[in-house]
Structure formats: structure tokens, C-alpha cells
């Protein structure tokens, strides 16, 4: 074993990458995924690799594990693990490295686990391969590991199949699998992106704990700067296959020396800052590198960018504090006093019209049930109460934010509003008139989906996509449609030339703009936005949020903004409702809800959001929710939250169901422990 001394971690890096380049030679194009990066990871440090999709962060770590398919991938440069060159290793040596010395955890635990093998067997597998232990020994170790990663009653769950685990538990099992052979390096590729905030917080805590216990080095790949601040010692920011900035986390967050990093930090909505009327936005879309870079990849989107930025490729050079390096020729101009990315003024979101209030959407005691098909004949008659008695109102020109964990029914509620699912009881009225499901008076509600690309027919041109609602409702004659489409394109900030092109020619942000234009085409009263920014890159999210707010201020549409990201919701909403297992547990004006939440669930949700600032991060003394969302097919009796509630009172919360009551004007809470 190598003599690793932690105190002089710099002297003997665990992982050393030098001038790594990865090129994909595809039949149609060449993509330079990684364009010459160098980095070091010391033993038992947490190193975060941050970047947007396509920045090369996953690809560079996959090449460390020798997991890239070649062809089409062409990898060059040097990767050393404890001084041994990885790129020249034989298949057998690589196999020994993978799993035994370096392990990897992926984003989507369900697809990384084999659905037909028991969890325990999958964890024991690498032990049996690398250590040659017996079956019973492997099983014993699997139980220990499952227990260690926080699976309750591990001994009885070890023989479960992956589908019997919840999302958070599966990710825990993946981590247990990665840790099975006591690796020195754990590479975690977006391990919490598919999880809910409350579960994400649990996983982050777990990794931090395990890292300290096993003296692991962790490379955490993510796009989420909030998560990074919670966990990382050192950070590298990647863009277009290059590292633009690297340094200790406190430096990166406190005194960034690269305009891109500062743009990212400014453009994400945050809970620990005042709400501004507009988010700072980075213009344009992330670069896709199809030929060798000649200049700074960011210069076209950069406020400091000058003509000469495009002429020479900037290298990482010392900037400010020790170990802080930035690849920007203007790095010395950056400082705390300079505001590169202007945001709007603080205060209320802009509002439409003269302030007169008019209710556009009114939902009363809405219930949407789905038949639960799983299981035996006995359970066939059971239903999933996806939405179970919801009341809400949205006024003209205002936004209601709807938040909650996945599976809480927020999407179903939105779809019920758009008449995509039929409620079993209750009523929905839009401008005083009920939805007519048969003839479909449905022009008045339009919808924006999470993934704009899959929500568009790939064989249709953008002009036809945007004009479709006009044709469906025969709102304009043929020549007028064209005119209206061009008008809409301009409103959402797309060039008129977009009209004749296909959706695949656009970037994610532009596609969402197209979706917004389509939603506006029919001149709706309400637009239901179902997670409209969560599939977009961080630097583009702000653009779409600002666009929606601007359009609303212009035409007075009401918005139902469904999202799991509490910071984004806070930014755009006038009022916020929190959903849990089909019910609204708290509803209040935005500042009231974020400033003084009353329901314990709301409090826990807010606590779980990682703040993109290491100072606030790890030391917070917070309430952690334990466990996962119970099944909506079988909700707990009494208060539905009592099983996870830190303050639940036995004999009250578990028996009597609280009603949603107005405890203060405009602030509704459903909890026994909140007094009026």
C-alpha cells in the first residue's frame, strides 16, 4: 500500500489528470467533449466538478474509469491513479481498479441496478469478484453496508428487489455497492439530481459522513451549485470541455475570478437572498464544441468579453488566493465590487394591470383518483388519491406556485386544470365557467411541459408547432396565422427565421421559448407550467423565468407554476401552495410563506434546499425529514404528514385529520399544532 499522508495531500495526489482530451467521432460530426483538462484529487477530499450539460464533466470522469466506448471516443492525455497510468492499463488491471479502488455512483439508481437481482446479491457481487469471499460472507457484509447507509431494518430488506426500494433507498443501495470493497475514490455522477430535495439532503449528509469515516476521496459531479456548496472542499467549474476556474469552495463562492462562475452564481434563484424583480441572466446557450477551441469558449456570452478573448485559449493561472486559478485574461478585473450580471431591483414581482383583483381560476374540493392496478384482486378496487380535496384560486395576472415532492399530486392537479385528466368530484371554473369535458372549451387553459423537446412533434416545423392552437380553435385565417406566429416568435425572443426550422435544431432554452410561444398562441386565461425550467441548464433557467414573468406583466395571464425547486418558485410566484400526498398543507403569499412558514412540512422543505454558499452550508442546524413519501394509494390516517413529522403529537396527529384553516388573513395551514 502506498504511504498516503493526509496532511500533505498535495504531495501524493490520489488522482492526477493531465491534459485529458476526449473526442467523439460520430458518423455525422465530431464532438470535442473534453478539451485538455488537468486536475488533481487528494486523498480524502471532496472535489466537485461543476458544469452544465455537455460541459464534459461526466465524460472526463468516465474516462478515468475507462468506461468510454472506443470507438467512437478517442481519449488522449494522462490519467494517473496513485501514480499508476490508467490509460495504458489492460482490461484486467482496469477491472481491478474499478470497484476495488475507485467506484462510481450514477444519477438514475433504478437504471443502474439490475431489476431482476436482489439488492443484497448486487452489493455482494463486487465483493465476490474482487475479494473472493463466500456467498454467506458477502451477504453478511451486504447487510452491514445497507445498515451503514441508513436502510432501516437492513437484514430484512437485503433480499428485496430494486423496485421494492424507493428512489432514495435505491441511491443508498448504490452507495453501499460502491463502498463494498473500501475504495479510495468515489465518483458520484449527479447522484442526487433525480431525487427530491428532502431525500437529496439525506444523501448529502450520508456521503459526508461516510467520507469522514472511510477517509474516501469523493469526486462529485453536478450542475447544482447549491449542492456543491454543501459538500465540496475544492471545486472545478467546467464549460465546453475546459476547466474555467478551480479553487477552494469558499474562494469560488466568495471571490470568484471567472465571469462564467459569477454568472452562474448570480443567475440561480436563491432562498438566502432578496427576491429581485428579474433574475440576472447569461445570454445565449452553452457551446457545443465541434472543432478545436481557438479562444475562450465563453467569450461570446461574457460581459467582459473583448475581441481578443476569441484569439487565444486562456490557460488556468493563479488568481487571488493560493490554489485559486482562473482561465480568464480579465481575472484581475473581477472583484466583489464589480457587478457583472445586473439583476432587477428588489421587491414584489411586477404585476399586471391596475391592481384590481379578479379570480380567473377557482378550484373547489377537487379530487382526482386513479385505479391502483398493482397487487392482488383485493387491492384492485383501491384507488390512488392523487389529488384529494384541493381548493385554490388564481387571480388575473398573478402566479400561484405549487411545490411538493414528486408523487405529491402536483402534476395531476395541473393536468386536471388543463382537462387532461377527469376529476372524480369537485369543480374547476375558469373565469366563472366550468370546464366542459365533452365539447372541450379548453382554449382558455394552455400548458407548458417540463421537457420541451418531447412535447413537440419532431416532424413539425416550429411555425406549425406554434400555430397549432390557432388552427385547432380556428382563431385565425391562414395568412393571419403566419403573421401571428412571427409576432409570437418576437415576443419570446426568437428570430423570425426560426419559423421554418425543426425543433431539433434548437437548444433546450430556445425550445422552451417555442413551447411558451405555443402556449400563448391561443391567448389563454391560464397557463399551467409543469416544471418548466427543471430540464434546462442552469444558465438558461433564468432566461425562461424572466420571460414568463415579462409576458405575464404584458398580457395578464394567470400562471400555475408547478416545480420542485423552491427557490425558482419563490422567484416567480405571488402566492405559493405546498402539497403533500394530494392535499394542500399550506398556502400563503410568497413572502409570508418563505419568511414565516408554519407547517412543519414547509419548514422541512425549506431547510432541505442547499444554499449556494459554503458559509451557510454545512453548519446549519437543520430539521431533516426522515424516510420517503408514503404511498398515495395508502395514505396514513389522521394528518398525512404525521409519519415523517418531527413534532407530531401521538394520539392527535395520527388520529384526527386537520383541516386547511385560515390562521391569518391569506395564510392557510392544515396542522393541529398551529394555533390561530
Amino acid at each position: 500500500m502506498t504511504d498516503v499522508s493526509v496532511d500533505h495531500g498535495k504531495a501524493v495526489p490520489l488522482l492526477e489528470i493531465e491534459d485529458l482530451r476526449v473526442r467523439f467521432e460520430l458518423p455525422t460530426e465530431v464532438v470535442h467533449a473534453v478539451g485538455g483538462i488537468s486536475l488533481e484529487v487528494a486523498p480524502s477530499e471532496i472535489f466537485a466538478l461543476v458544469g452544465e450539460s455537455g460541459s464534459g464533466k461526466s465524460v472526463s470522469m468516465l474516462s478515468v474509469m475507462g468506461l468510454l466506448p472506443s470507438p467512437p471516443a478517442a481519449v488522449s492525455g494522462s490519467i494517473r491513479f496513485e501514480g499508476r497510468e490508467v490509460s495504458g492499463m489492460s482490461g484486467r488491471e482496469l477491472n481491478r481498479l474499478r470497484g476495488r479502488e475507485a467506484a462510481m455512483v450514477f444519477q438514475e439508481p433504478m437504471s443502474s441496478l439490475n431489476p431482476v437481482h436482489r439488492i443484497g446479491r448486487q452489493i455482494g457481487e463486487s465483493l465476490r469478484i474482487h475479494r473472493g469471499v463466500t456467498r454467506s460472507e458477502a451477504r453478511r457484509r451486504a447487510v452491514y453496508l445497507l445498515d451503514r447507509v441508513g436502510i432501516p431494518a437492513a437484514a430484512s430488506r437485503v433480499d428485496d428487489y430494486p423496485h421494492e426500494f424507493s428512489g432514495g433507498m435505491r441511491q443508498r443501495a448504490m452507495i453501499a455497492m460502491a463502498l463494498a470493497c473500501d475504495p479510495k475514490l468515489l465518483i458520484a455522477d449527479e447522484p442526487t439530481t433525480a431525487l427530491d430535495v428532502t431525500v437529496q439532503a439525506q444523501i448529502i449528509d450520508l456521503v459526508r459522513e461516510l467520507q469522514a469515516e472511510y477517509r474516501l476521496a469523493v469526486v462529485w459531479i453536478t450542475h447544482d451549485l447549491g449542492v456543491v456548496a454543501e459538500i465540496a472542499d475544492r471545486v472545478a467549474v467546467m464549460y465546453a470541455g475546459r476547466i474555467l476556474e478551480t479553487g477552494p469552495a469558499s474562494e469560488i463562492y466568495g471571490a470568484t475570478r471567472h465571469p462564467y462562475t459569477s454568472g452562474l452564481l448570480r443567475s440561480i434563484p436563491r432562498l438566502d437572498r432578496q427576491v429581485t424583480s428579474r433574475l440576472a441572466e447569461i445570454p445565449g446557450a452553452p457551446l457545443k464544441v465541434s472543432q478545436e477551441l481557438r479562444g475562450c469558449p465563453f467569450h461570446q456570452r461574457c460581459p467582459l468579453g473583448q475581441d481578443d478573448c476569441g484569439d487565444a485559449l486562456p490557460e488556468l493561472e493563479a488568481a487571488g488566493a493560493p490554489a485559486h486559478r482562473s482561465a480568464c485574461v480579465h481575472r484581475d478585473q473581477m472583484g466583489p465590487s464589480i457587478e457583472l450580471w445586473p439583476a432587477g431591483a428588489a421587491g414584489e414581482p411586477r404585476t399586471y394591470g391596475d391592481g384590481r383583483r379578479e379570480v380567473v381560476v377557482s378550484v373547489r374540493r377537487l379530487e382526482v383518483h386513479f385505479p391502483a392496478v398493482r397487487g392482488s384482486a383485493r387491492s384492485r378496487r383501491r384507488v390512488v388519491r392523487a389529488v384529494d380535496g384541493v381548493d385554490l384560486e388564481i387571480e388575473r395576472g398573478r402566479t400561484l406556485g405549487l411545490v411538493g415532492e414528486s408523487g405529491c399530486g402536483k402534476t395531476t392537479l395541473g393536468r386536471a386544470l388543463a382537462a387532461l385528466v377527469r376529476p372524480v368530484s369537485g369543480s374547476i371554473q375558469i373565469t366563472g365557467r366550468p370546464i366542459d369535458y365533452r365539447s372541450g372549451r379548453r382554449r382558455v387553459v394552455q400548458m407548458i411541459f417540463q421537457d420541451p423537446f418531447s412535447a413537440m412533434n419532431p416532424g413539425m416545423r416550429v411555425g406549425d408547432i406554434i400555430g397549432e392552437p390557432l388552427r385547432i380553435h380556428r382563431l385565425a385565417s391562414k395568412p393571419r396565422i403566419q403573421e401571428r406566429v412571427l409576432d409570437l416568435l418576437e415576443q419570446v425572443g426568437l428570430p423570425p427565421g426560426a419559423h421554418g426550422r425543426y425543433p431539433h435544431e434548437f437548444s433546450g432554452g430556445q425550445r422552451q421559448r417555442i413551447a411558451v410561444a405555443r402556449a400563448l398562441a391561443a391567448d389563454p386565461e391560464v397557463v399551467v407550467c409543469d416544471e418548466p425550467v427543471s430540464s434546462l441548464d442552469v444558465s438558461v433557467q433564468a432566461q425562461v423565468v424572466n420571460l414568463l414573468a415579462d409576458l405575464q406583466a404584458g398580457n395578464g395571464m394567470a400562471l400555475l407554476f408547478i416545480a420542485h425547486d423552491l427557490a425558482v418558485v419563490r422567484h416567480i410566484s405571488h402566492e405559493v401552495a405546498v402539497m403533500y400526498l394530494g392535499e394542500i398543507v399550506e398556502r400563503a403569499g410568497r413572502d409570508r410563506l418563505y419568511g414565516s412558514p408554519l407547517h412543519p412540512y414547509t419548514k422541512a422543505l425549506l431547510e432541505a434546499v442547499p444554499a449556494p454558499s459554503p458559509a451557510v452550508g454545512p453548519d446549519r442546524n437543520r430539521i431533516r425529514l426522515t424516510g420517503d413519501l408514503p404511498s398515495p394509494a395508502d395514505p396514513p390516517p389522521g394528518c398525512r404528514f404525521h409519519t415523517r413529522c418531527p413534532v407530531a403529537v401521538e394520539g392527535l396527529c395520527s388520529i384526527r385529520k386537520p383541516e386547511l384553516e385560515e390562521v391569518r388573513p391569506g395564510h392557510w395551514v392544515s396542522c393541529h399544532l398551529v394555533s390561530r
Binding site: L26, P69, Q446, A455, N457
Partner: protein, 286 residues
């Protein structure tokens, strides 16, 4: 991530592509030659097939390359003109089958609960029915004409395409852009015709070509049993007359039985090969 997956797919498709492309080209050439034969029959055929142009039962010779039949008609000319009947019936019957199949498949796929279950039970019944006996009964009942042959064949082979198209529609209807169209307030008619049917076109093309291959064989069987149009002879009816006049048992089988048999095989195989290579291209994209 996506670029990697795409590259892997592309590589696989290229490798598998080669054989299927070669076979596809063979199919296209075969079918092309047969089509040329059918279209230019009056120019290619040495005689009018309905005229008596020589002595009956003549073996192949300089005047009649494939000899003559029992009434002294030129067999080569019969073969060339027969391609018209065989191909037209095959293509028309497949088109009819596709029309029914698409309608049933789209409806059953888009409304999978009650209507879909009902329609698919119908499909099952059609698939279970013993083909040939039913074909014979229907053809005999309706009378011997080209149109009837076409309709009878079409009415029996639509079930396969219906199943294929239904499965595609089942997946299409849960696509988000169909949901998006519904969220815009589009009636079902709109989503079906704008978003679902056009997307089944590729798949339908594949099953159409395959259906042509089947229809040609069925037409040959019907005509061989003497249930074809008595006025317009197809390859199958040439075989029927050869059988009726005992050509199967005499040396005449070499010029009276073998050529139409080979032509039927060539036509059906040609279409089947095209279908194979088309499906190879279409299916991975499902």
C-alpha cells in the same frame, strides 16, 4: 451522454445494415423487373395471349419459346400478361388490407380500453380463422371476378398490419407531444390525424410491402383452385389449367408449370426482401 448512445446505435445499424441492404436491393431489382414486364406486356409479349396462335400442346420451339397450351395459346405471352393480374391483385389487396388495418389499429391503439379491446378480439378472430377454406368459401360465394378476389384477400390479411400499427399507436399516444396537443384543447380527431397517423406511416409502409408478398401468394392459390377471374388469367390460373390438362404428370411441366411457379416465387420473394430491409431500417427507431 446522448452522443455516445447515438454513436453506438449508428455503429450497430451500419453493421447490420449491410446484409439487409444487399437483400433489399435484390428485392427491388426483382420487383422492378416484374413491374416492367407487367407495364410493357403488350410490347414484350410475342402474341396476344387470348388468341389461338399455334397447335395445342406444342413443346418449346423457335416460334413459341415456352410452347402452347391446350387450346394453342402462347404460354410465354400468358405468363407476361399474367404478371399484370397477379401484381395488380396483390398490390390492391394489400392496399385494402392496410386501409382496414390502419383504421382498426389506430382506433384500437388510441382508445385501448373498451373500443380497443373489442376491436382486438375481432382481430384475434380473423387471425384464428382457417385461411384457405374461408377464402375458398368467400370467393365461391361472391363469384369469380378480379374485384372479388382482391376484396376477399384484403378482408383476410388486414389483421397482421392492424396489430403492428396498434402497438405503435399505443406508444405514440403516451408521447408527450400528443399530451401537449390535448392540452391545447385539440379534439381526438385532430391529435389522431395530425400527430398519430403520420407517425405510423413508416411502419405502415413496411407492413404494406409485406402484405403484398402475402397477397400475391394468396391470389395464386385462389386462381390455382380455379376461383380466379376466368377472363383474365394470372400465373395461378395458368397453373390451374396446367393441372386440369394433366401437365403436372407429363414432360410439359418444365414449360407449363415451372415458369409460372418461379414467377410467383420471385414476386413474393422480391416483396418480402424489400419488406425485410425496410423493417430493418424502420424498427430500431420505434
Amino acid at each position: 451522454m446522448t452522443s455516445k448512445a447515438a454513436a453506438g446505435r449508428a455503429g450497430r445499424r451500419r453493421r447490420r445494415g449491410r446484409t439487409s441492404d444487399v437483400l433489399g436491393i435484390c428485392g427491388v431489382v426483382t420487383v422492378g423487373l416484374l413491374l416492367i414486364m407487367a407495364v410493357f406486356a403488350p410490347w414484350l409479349a410475342p402474341y396476344d395471349p387470348s388468341e389461338r396462335v399455334g397447335r395445342p400442346f406444342q413443346p418449346p420451339g423457335r416460334e413459341h419459346l415456352l410452347g402452347t397450351n391446350d387450346v394453342g395459346q402462347d404460354l410465354l405471352s400468358e405468363m407476361i400478361y399474367g404478371s399484370r393480374v397477379s401484381l395488380v391483385v396483390g398490390i390492391a389487396a394489400a392496399a385494402a388490407a392496410l386501409l382496414i388495418g390502419t383504421a382498426v389499429g389506430v382506433l384500437a391503439g388510441y382508445y385501448p380500453r373498451r373500443l380497443g379491446a373489442f376491436l382486438m378480439r375481432g382481430v384475434d378472430v380473423v387471425l384464428i380463422l382457417p385461411f384457405l377454406p374461408l377464402l375458398i368459401v368467400l370467393a365461391a360465394y361472391l363469384g369469380r371476378s378480379l374485384l372479388n378476389t382482391t376484396l376477399v384477400i384484403g378482408a383476410l390479411i388486414w389483421a397482421g398490419p392492424a396489430r403492428i400499427i396498434r402497438s405503435q399507436v399505443l406508444s405514440l399516444r403516451s408521447r408527450e407531444y400528443v399530451l401537449a396537443a390535448r392540452s391545447m384543447g385539440a379534439p381526438d380527431r385532430w391529435t389522431i390525424f395530425r400527430h398519430v397517423v403520420p407517425r405510423t406511416a413508416l411502419l405502415a409502409t413496411g407492413s404494406f410491402v409485406r402484405a403484398v408478398a402475402g397477397a400475391i401468394l394468396l391470389e395464386a392459390s385462389l386462381s390455382f383452385l380455379g376461383l380466379g377471374d376466368p377472363i383474365q388469367k394470372s400465373w395461378g390460373s395458368v397453373l390451374f389449367w396446367a393441372q386440369a390438362r394433366g401437365a403436372f404428370l407429363t414432360p410439359a411441366w418444365k414449360w407449363w408449370v415451372l415458369p409460372p411457379g418461379l414467377l410467383i416465387m420471385a414476386a413474393s420473394l422480391g416483396f418480402a426482401l424489400i419488406a425485410f430491409s425496410l423493417e430493418e431500417r424502420i424498427n430500431p427507431r420505434l
